[in-house]
Amino acid sequence: KRKREPAPVHFALNNAAVLIQRWYRRYVARLEMRRRCTWRIFQSIEYACEQDQIKLHNFFSYLMDHFTPSSSKERDFISRMFVSGESFKEAELEKYCDYESMEVPDSYTGPHLSFPLLPDHATTLLEAFKRKQQLHARYVLNLLHETRKHLKQLPNISHVSTCYSEEVTVCGDLHGQLDDLFLIFYKNGLPSPSKSYVFNGDFVDRGKQSLEILIVLFTFLLVYPNEVHLNRGNHEDHMVNLRYGFSVHGRKILKMIQNVFCWLPLATLIDQKVLIIHGGISDTTDLDMLEKIQRHKFISVLRGKKRKESNRNVEIQEIIGESKADASAAEHDAASSPSPQPQPAQAPSMTNRLEFSKWVRQMVQEQIERCRQLVDSESEEEELTYSSFVSMTDLNAPCWTRQEEWKQILDILWSDPMPQEGCRENTVRGGGCYFGPDVTKKILEKYSLQFLIRSHECKQEGYEFCHSRKVLTIFSASNYYEIGSNRGAYVKLGPDLVPHFVQYQANKTAHTLTMTQRISRVEESAFRALREKLFAHTSALISAFKAYDKDGTGRITLSNWATAVESVLRLGLPWRMLRPQLAHSMADGMLEYKSWLEDLAMEQQSQEHIQSGLLEVIYRNRSNLETIFRIIDRDHSGLISFEEFHQTWKLFSSHMNIELTDDGINDLVRSIDFNKDGNIDFNEFLEAFQETEFNSDCQKASNWVPSLES
């Protein structure tokens, strides 16, 4: 099929041009493919993380529901995990989170707030944060109290009209990225009587300045209550914060924040025509119900979603890391009847780790049996348990169940649009649903709306339409995955309700890079994250590879490699496309998997004396570990006692179904510098494992000078 080039000069020129163009177009296509793959990598890892969070939560729920402590010490230990979820009565809250007794020392050079707040306070605050100053805890608490008081008066659905202010500006996820908020205010102007803003949730988590963002938003909310509107996002949720790292700054502040989040409105309506919610909708979304429910009862919306029996079984087995063999062995040992009945839980002492973990497994297994029987017999109703984080004092809802109310909120905060018609469970996130264009049409018609604005999903250009421009996603955290990964955007609506977009990127350097360089850097970051994930599953990968290598040659085909990796990681990624950047094949097209995994391990290992098996476990479960640690550190001081540390590990190992020897734990402890007073600064501990990432980030940072676009 290849043409023979004829001799004349012009033809030669022409063919040279064709050749170059041909080559260049192939290059660009490849670049586009790499960009899309990179995006898929980041997104699938992010959503897998959210799923993990739900699994962990489910595990603790079971533990909490079915663990009968045999001593006050045990009771104390486990109940600590969930006490922080309770909602407080007004008086209790005032007393508990009292700030008036807190003195602001003379040495404090940060901004001072007095109430009621004035516009000057807001601008002073912005200037202070730009100078990297912090707000004193007293003022933070005071602000939170006042915010809560204000939010309590607001309805579940805020109403905004474009006749009072010329335009409304809607912003999406900020995720603790204060620079983006600064950029928005710089480009668009501060909130004012002539400038309305709607912030559509996910103000916190992942970025480093979550508290600052809250302070700024709440301040403007109080200064301009008619012009600033906040919607709750799925990250304005206690359990999610624990996971993603927002639980710092002391117990009082955290407690107050929990009690402010639950009072955030759920939605905003512009001119009764445009509905703004954080996640999305479902086919059962009912705005009338949403307007009437007591939204503050739902401190945390996160809880396990009921699935079909087979899925649930698998999920539960994953949580306790139990293989089928173990389960049947345990049942056998327990000498229980074919259908085990719930026995009074006699918890062994937690100091005998082996006994305890065996007991935990047994308990959970028994629960599975019970649930299986329950599932067979009934409807969609899920039983409420202690761990549902809903205040039980006030059970009376008008004419619908707590269950239905909870689903309404969950759908609003967690759902994602999908291209196909219908409405199905959002199994990727673990909460909410996927809704199709028909659902959008139905809900828009039902309430005479023109279109929806939502956030919740990172978009390359900062915004994206779908469902024939009936659903707009707006995302305001630029460079979300990595510098250069995406732009942020905000949208302005005038009385004609025609959207106008402004895009930005809060890092000047991103603009000076060529397309290739930008894609390469983001790609590098994505692959690093992916290799880390691969390493974390080393043991499972080896088993999977060995299944294809019965002769023990240490080699497998590339095809089998791709299949095996997907079966272990289950990220739904195009592994054959990604393979060249992950693993080298030999000349005969085979892959030496053992040396490949060793190479991965070498890249990850930052400390030599820790057993690599332990390191792998830690890596795989680093986020889980952080969550568990934060729960254990009740006063959020960053310190846990040595004893608590050991107990945490024991609990952790029973959860992860791995045997951690006391020696292994001691080695770990010794390799990190602990002061000798029996307290562990676990932030340092976790830092130690972030070192490799941290170091390379530092190197990259030194090459760039981050600054705001100006």
């Binding site: 041909r22 493919m33 590339l558 592994w575 950047q581």
Partner: protein, 178 residues
């Protein structure tokens, strides 16, 4: 004895053909998996279709270097009888698999690429001026769009001299293109 030999030969022959078939089947299966993977990356609606304007990207990211004309020929094979603007996987898969098996649209080796640039460099000075490159790329061969031209210039052009040292440019691109 001749008869026996005939039978043995037939047996070996058919055994050989059968093994070839099995082997070929595995190879084809693997190629199909690759094609499906690449296709799905551009299947935004998750319904086994790709916008016709993006099919070129799919074909090229599978390692092929077709000209625009060759791509059009390919499209003609995979489009619906009444073109809908979308290409369906079930039509694309067998055609693309055949393309990969036949190794059509071979990659361009570095030295051939260099010769192509040299052919445009009339004065043999080792570089092209911005004007020269733009003229050739937008007027000759299968002309670039303005966007394509700007993209190429952003990476290839040395702003101080307004020239493209094509040898360096090729090296840069080859390295980047993992």
């Amino acid at each position: 004895t001749g008869k026996e030999n005939d039978n043995e030969y037939t047996f070996h022959e058919s055994f050989f053909c059968f093994s070839l078939f099995l082997f070929a089947d595995r190879v084809v299966a693997e190629i199909e998996k690759k094609v499906i993977e690449a296709f799905e990356v551009f299947d935004h609606e998750c319904n086994k279709t790709v916008d016709v304007r993006e099919i070129g990207s799919v074909v090229r990211s599978l390692g092929c270097y077709p000209t625009e004309a060759e791509l059009q020929e390919l499209l003609a094979e995979v489009e619906e009888e009444e073109p809908t603007g979308y290409i369906h996987l079930e039509k694309f898969l067998p055609v693309m698999t055949r393309v990969l098996l036949e190794r059509s649209y071979q990659p361009i080796p570095e030295d051939v690429l260099l010769h192509a640039f040299e052919a445009l460099d009339e004065n043999k000075c080792g570089y092209l001026t911005k004007e020269e490159l733009v003229k050739y790329m937008t007027e000759e061969g299968e002309p670039f769009t303005q966007e394509e031209m700007e993209d190429m210039l952003s990476a290839a052009l040395e702003p101080e001299t307004n020239t493209v040292c094509y040898k360096d440019y090729i090296t840069l691109m080859i390295v980047d293109d993992v």
